[in-house]
Amino acid sequence: MPVMELSASQDRAFFEAVCAKSGQDLLRCYQCGNCTAGCPMQPYYDLAAHQVMRLVQTGQRKAALTCSSLWLCAGCGQCSARCPNQLDVALILETLRHMARRAGYNPQPRVAQFSRAFLKSVHSHGRVFELGLLLRYKLASGRLLDDADLAPRLLKVGKLHLTPTSTPGQAEVAAIFRRYEQGAGS
């Protein structure tokens, strides 16, 4: 690891932005590690949750926004429930994920692809069409054989519909997405 030149690399504006967007005062974090201790996804993280908090505290924008952990968070909320300083750690990670996406960082393409496929499905049908979602994700990620073993089991018990259910509300949902994509509401 290279020397961290605090005076040169500390991005205070980034630190302030994370605090403001998440509504959390990251100076409260005293690095006890309780977020890391309870995190179910910790073994798959490149940086532990408390390390991400530390990167934000020291204004290390790029290191914080490019880390994979942001994308692997399962959203279980254990870190927030455990934090002795009442920081909503999960919300901070989510805030960083939003910032990373806007900055074009995407170290975990499969997670983002799944997310996109999910929203596309909602966009197109109003509700999630599970088979369509899986196929779309497989095509985007190129992981055609993932979970192929599950499909016949689902089909057998009538749980995987081959065609999407039509929902009249789809038009309204599509309108929400259209306005969002046009940059409304931001």
């Binding site: 309780n34 532990a48 408390h50 009442q86």
Partner: protein
């Protein structure tokens, strides 16, 4: 009147945002002011000398100092004017620091406000009259509440100093938390061996009267003359007869009573003596477990007692004592372990508090000093200690550090190894706080000599796995999650105020902080005094403290009591209420509202009813003066005329001018 005004700069504290010279110049124009000057430090030796010289040379008979809060220097300046021959109540103070310079930034506005405050002080001073303090005799007996190590020390020092000392202890034995400890850090000497002799001294001292199993029911009076009511709780054993032989406990068939001395590890008999070194060594009955009280049968203890000391009819009894000072030494309690659900507190028997662990280690404890898991009695091969459980935790409204946990955790890790040499020990910690003499060396010994594995990180959860407990935490130094298997998990549960401390504070009229710990009068300069004269603090009731600090504070409190009692008489404060008998219609509303019982009913010569103030009891709070519809009762030094003079000026000035 000839009034002098002194406007203090307090260095830049005031002068930084107040134009002190302008304030003095304005004051020069106030009615009856013959001298107004600004001064760099009014409280300094040259500052005080200047005031004295001005009084002498200009013939002043009233002085205003505009400076800091009266809490800081009112007494100083009163002595100054007294040295120059004035009555000390011919002095007024205007607070232009806390009320002006420290709270406002605009120099113009600040100067305006400071000038107004000085004017108000001048207006009041014009109505001031000399007041003379009366003196009263001091009752040189002292009450010590709580007989842990701090209370024991305070009591012994007072008694050795020749004072008659009353000690009130809530439980059936003195010794407090220290008596429950197995060993003490950093010397690892036997706790009760060190404390025991002091407990015996307390019991045998001819100047000390001990009330065990007793609580403060009420306290009235004032410094030098307190009246205390002590509730002696029924023990159902006549302690005058009981010899402490223990036969009753041996024969008691009810063996499931909660064992409070052993922190509920294990059970005891319904009639018991808490531990072998208990002082007084007397039996008492836990009525909630006794078959006689529950089912109206048994009575075995009464049959076997060789001195017929059992008395099932015994009732609580209230006794009165008169004392001149009080030392409060009621200690602390650990937070309830059930609050820590993530660690299985109260759910998993093998998750215990640090104090329970002390009892498990102690030779006089429920396991005879053999380390055993409470669940099944097996010897633990891995013990995990979790620090900061309920300390430094804002999510539990517990931002404070309990102070002593780092040290006793290291001690317990060391003791674990001496009990079971092949037992692994792990300590999860955030920071190590070991600033005392020999303390950090002790922490190093735990790690280097006793091979304790210190893991830097908090623990998220404890859960059962394969018949043992899995402790999942973080190692923040490695940036990993850590899981370790434990047979026993010891929680260093944070220290909170002792149960009932808020109630006691209200009885004693002392303040407490957000955690229920009693407030000292000044955090640096009056650490053992409270804001109630004659009531002193010792030990962990003021905040978590280790043994040497508690002992030192016990001695300090005793020193304060002896200094107070070194005078034969104390001066009463003349700032008390006074009844104008001509105006008083005898409605006695004041008598009913007075919180201190300082007003009595008297018959005037014509037979009419009048209120009368007992000056030595009155605290000068002023509640009576606002109650009286006939303006017959007034607080000296805060009379209606004095207060109206202030208000009149302020209202008129605001009608005439406005700063902005």
């Amino acid at each position: 009147m000839r009034i002098g005004v002194f406007v203090c700069h307090c260095g830049t504290n005031i002068a930084g945002t107040v134009d002190c010279a302008a304030v003095a110049a304005a004051a020069q124009q106030f009615p009856e002011v013959v001298l107004a000057v600004d001064t760099p430090y009014a409280c300094s030796e040259p500052g005080q000398r200047a005031i004295i010289e001005a009084i002498e040379q200009k013939g002043l008979n009233g002085v205003v100092v505009a400076s800091c809060t009266p809490r800081m220097h009112e007494a100083t300046f009163r002595r100054t004017v007294e040295r120059a021959g004035l009555n000390r109540y011919m002095f007024e103070m205007a607070n232009i620091r806390e009320h002006v310079s420290w709270v406002g930034r605009d120099k113009k506005l600040n100067t305006f406000k400071a000038t107004d405050l000085v004017r108000i002080a001048v207006e009041k001073l014009r109505y001031n009259r000399p007041l003379t303090a009366k003196s009263f005799a001091v009752n040189k007996r002292v009450l010590v509440i709580g007989a842990g190590v701090a209370g024991i020390q305070a009591a012994l020092d007072c008694a050795d100093g020749g004072l008659e000392t009353i000690v009130v202890e809530r439980t059936s034995t003195v010794g407090g938390k220290m008596a429950k400890l197995d060993k003490t850090f950093p010397t690892v000497d036997c706790s009760v061996c060190v404390l025991g002799p002091k407990m015996v001294d307390l019991a045998q001292h001819r100047k000390i009267k001990l009330y065990a199993m007793s609580e403060i029911a009420d306290l009235s009076g004032y410094v030098g003359n307190f009246e205390v009511s002590i509730r002696r709780k029924a023990t159902y054993v006549d302690w005058n007869k009981c010899t402490g032989c223990g036969l009753c406990a041996d024969k008691c068939p009810s063996r499931k009573a909660p064992d409070h001395f052993n922190e509920l590890v294990g059970r005891t008999t319904a009639i018991s003596i808490p531990f072998p070194q208990a002082i007084p060594k007397k039996a008492s009955i836990d009525a909630s477990s006794c078959l006689h009280f529950l089912k109206d049968r048994c009575g075995v203890c009464a049959k076997v007692c060789p001195v017929e000391a059992i008395d099932f009819e015994q009732q609580d009894e209230v006794v009165k004592e008169s004392v001149g000072a009080v030392v409060v030494a009621t200690g602390f309690d650990l937070l309830d372990i059930r609050r820590f659900g993530q660690y299985g507190g109260g759910r998993f028997p093998d998750v215990v508090t640090s104090l329970q662990y002390e009892r498990m280690l102690s030779a006089s404890g429920p396991t005879g000093g053999h380390l055993k898991c409470p669940s099944d009695g097996r010897e633990p091969k891995s013990v995990v200690f979790i620090s900061c459980v309920g300390s430094r935790d804002r999510s539990m409204d517990r931002a404070i550090c309990s102070g002593f946990c780092c040290m006793y955790t290291a001690k317990q890790a060391i003791l674990t190894k001496s009990h079971v040499p092949d037992c692994e020990t792990h300590v999860f910690y955030m920071d190590i706080r070991a600033p005392g003499k020999g303390y950090d060396e002790f922490i190093r010994r735990a790690q280097e000599e006793y091979r304790t594995n210190y893991v830097r990180g908090r623990v998220s959860s404890v859960y059962p796995k394969n018949g043992r407990l899995a402790v999942r935490g973080a190692d923040t130094l490695l940036g990993t999650q850590t899981e370790v298997m434990a047979d026993l998990v010891v929680l260093a549960v944070g220290a909170g105020a002792a149960e009932g401390s808020r109630d006691l504070a209200e009885k004693l009229r002392i303040s407490y902080d957000a955690y229920g710990f009693f407030m000292e009068s000044h955090p640096k300069l009056k650490p053992v005094e409270t804001n109630t004269a004659g009531v002193f603090l010792a030990g962990a009731c003021q905040g978590p403290k280790d043994i040497p600090a508690s002992v030192a504070m016990g001695s300090a409190a005793a020193g304060k009591v002896m200094a107070l009692f070194s005078k034969e008489r104390l001066e009463s404060d003349p700032q008390v209420a006074q009844v104008n008998a001509v105006r008083c219609v005898g409605c006695l509303k004041c008598l009913r509202t007075c919180p201190f019982g300082a007003i009595q009913e008297v018959q005037a010569r014509d037979g009419s009813t009048k209120a009368q103030v007992i000056e030595s009891v009155c605290q000068g709070c002023g509640v009576c003066t606002v109650t009286c519809t006939d303006r017959a009762i007034e607080l000296q030094h805060f009379t209606d005329n004095q207060l109206l003079a202030e208000v009149n000026y302020l209202c008129r000035s605001w009608m005439e001018k406005s700063p902005a």
